[in-house]
Assembly symmetry: C2
Homo-oligomer: 340 residues x 2
């Protein structure tokens, strides 16, 4: 089967977005930051999925998407901790409704109620709720909740450790994923996303996080940012920093998805990164929605690029399914319950 | 001939670095930020070059290096504008001495006296001095003089325009190059450098800078950051932003160097980027100084990767020489004066 590890609910029904606007307006006016949530019918949700993700999943031939709230609108930098908490809960609850409506097509990954300067331990409760009560299989962890100011500690700082302990206890991985940018230097999907991926990887090289947490697992999206292209640089920097080889130092715990929107990029990814570290992902419906005039296909139809690779059927099965089942043990359990 | 467009004087004689430490200490103590400069003999400079850059240039078979002050120690965020001005002048003057000692092996590119929050017009005087009086052929422009806080305007903001006007008037390009990072999130050479390259390129996509300055030329170092690996994403984002094709919108004015430290990365660079936009560079002696255990060669011996490419002799000549002569017209003039 084909598991897409990276899908966001970018097409949520409009009342959900209106609620968010109301919330932000209320915050500014000093009002209720958790106002009444609109009635959104199952039909509205079904329509928003069938017209978009499900249509594309069927057209492109995937089976299941690891689904999380829209990344660019997590916007942890907006408002304060209460704003982030209320919004996050609404977003995760909406994902849960999608999953209940399409239990064979989607599994949930949660947004976290991060907020700049707020201790990450405050996000543990929502992670537990989503995993234990809603049946989610992982989370999206924002390495820069400030939205492009980068004024918090690196991911390897001990401040993050209590959260990592909970991830290990629950046996869930995190996708490292920033949100929108409020820094005019950084275009969200064109710079901030890719920079964050690159930054996180280099933080892992500099520190010894995975000595402290040998079972911690991260997915770095967007093909690992700049990392595979500069794989020689990263191997060389690890050497200069007197760290072990990357395969031992970082790559037992870090995975890249395939959200790289052209064949040469995917070819490079598979040339330098071990196939056991690569998870199929499309980020669909997401950052880039157009058709590549050079191929006539959608930029984010990443399955085509993998289909075109000269790798074995076993290797393709790892990328499409096996690796995801290993990185998300709770996904494997859900699938087995479903007889898959 | 073989022109390396990206070399820094990372091996300057120790008294130069001691001067900088004195300057910083004086700044803290409220003292003279332009103290007397030490006597550095020609022999010391010759030794620092012959043992390092010149030895490697000879071993690797290059002819000429476009040479600038060490990038990581430009440190525009240290001190204030006066500190930056005095340090910059000392650094550029030292480069001039190297050039006078090795006029056939080095040509100069200058550091700028940028300082966070200070108008870029204050850097015009030093650019003019270096080009008109010292015979330099370009400059390194720091898109983030804050050193990783990214709190200034994007490169496409009108605040930069007076500087670009001067670049066009003098007919010199700029390499976009950040300096050290004072943000613990960003390792300097592993994250900040690569992020800045990616960020600058995306800024160019978002705006219409090259409509306003059709003759402005930038070199984005380190192989263009993440851009070639994500070439599909950038083509797709330009399309979503209703911009022209990248070859018309950005690539008439932007060039990438070859500071990518492994064969697969260089292969990708040449697969997706037009050869007329690629300049040979090594960043030597620089960010990564070790030997790749997978090849037995230095990571930054980038000439080997280009030699191994299946491209024509004419294309190699463009990358090694022709493109640099076109992008740096003042280099071409110097070489012609030398009968080269």
């Amino acid at each position: 089967m084909i598991i897409d590890c990276h899908g966001h609910y970018t097409t949520a029904p409009e009342p959900h977005n209106v609620w968010r606007e109301t919330q932000k307006a209320n915050f500014k006016a000093g009002g209720d930051v958790d106002p009444a949530y609109p009635d959104i019918s199952d039909d509205e949700i079904v329509e928003s999925i069938e017209k978009n993700q499900l249509r594309l999943i069927r057209e492109r031939g995937a089976d299941l998407t690891v689904f999380s709230p829209r990344a660019s609108t997590m916007a942890h930098h907006v408002g304060n901790e209460d704003v982030s908490k209320a919004w996050t809960r609404r977003c995760n609850d909406l994902i849960k409704r999608v999953i209940d409506l399409f239990p064979e097509t989607f599994v949930g990954v949660c947004q976290l109620p991060q907020s700049p300067g707020v201790d990450i331990t405050h996000s543990i409760g929502e992670l537990e709720r989503c995993v234990n009560e809603l049946g989610f299989i992982g989370c999206n962890l924002n390495p820069d909740p400030s939205g492009g100011k980068w004024n918090g500690p690196p991911l390897t700082d001990k401040a993050w450790y209590p959260f990592y302990e909970k991830m290990v206890e629950l046996d869930v991985p995190a996708m490292i994923h920033v949100s929108g940018s409020c820094n005019p230097n950084f275009h969200a999907t064109g710079a901030h996303y890719i920079n964050a991926d690159t930054t996180a990887f280099m933080q892992f090289i500099e520190a010894d996080l995975f000595k402290d947490f040998p079972d911690l697992r991260f997915i770095i999206p967007h093909g690992g940012g700049a990392v595979p292209y500069h794989w020689g640089r990263y191997r060389g920097l690890a050497d200069m920093l007197k760290k072990p080889l990357l395969r031992d130092h970082v790559m037992k715990n870090v995975y890249f998805d395939t959200c790289v929107y052209h064949q040469p990029g995917i070819d490079l990814l598979f040339r330098v990164i071990d196939v056991k570290n690569i998870l199929f992902g499309s980020e669909m419906v997401g950052a880039v929605r157009g058709i590549d005039p050079e191929t006539g296909n959608y930029f984010d139809d990443t399955k085509r690029y993998i289909d075109a690779l000269p790798i074995s059927a076993e290797e393709k099965a790892m990328v499409f399914e096996g690796n995801a089942r290993r990185v998300y043990p709770r996904l494997d359990k859900i699938l087995k319950t479903q007889g898959r």
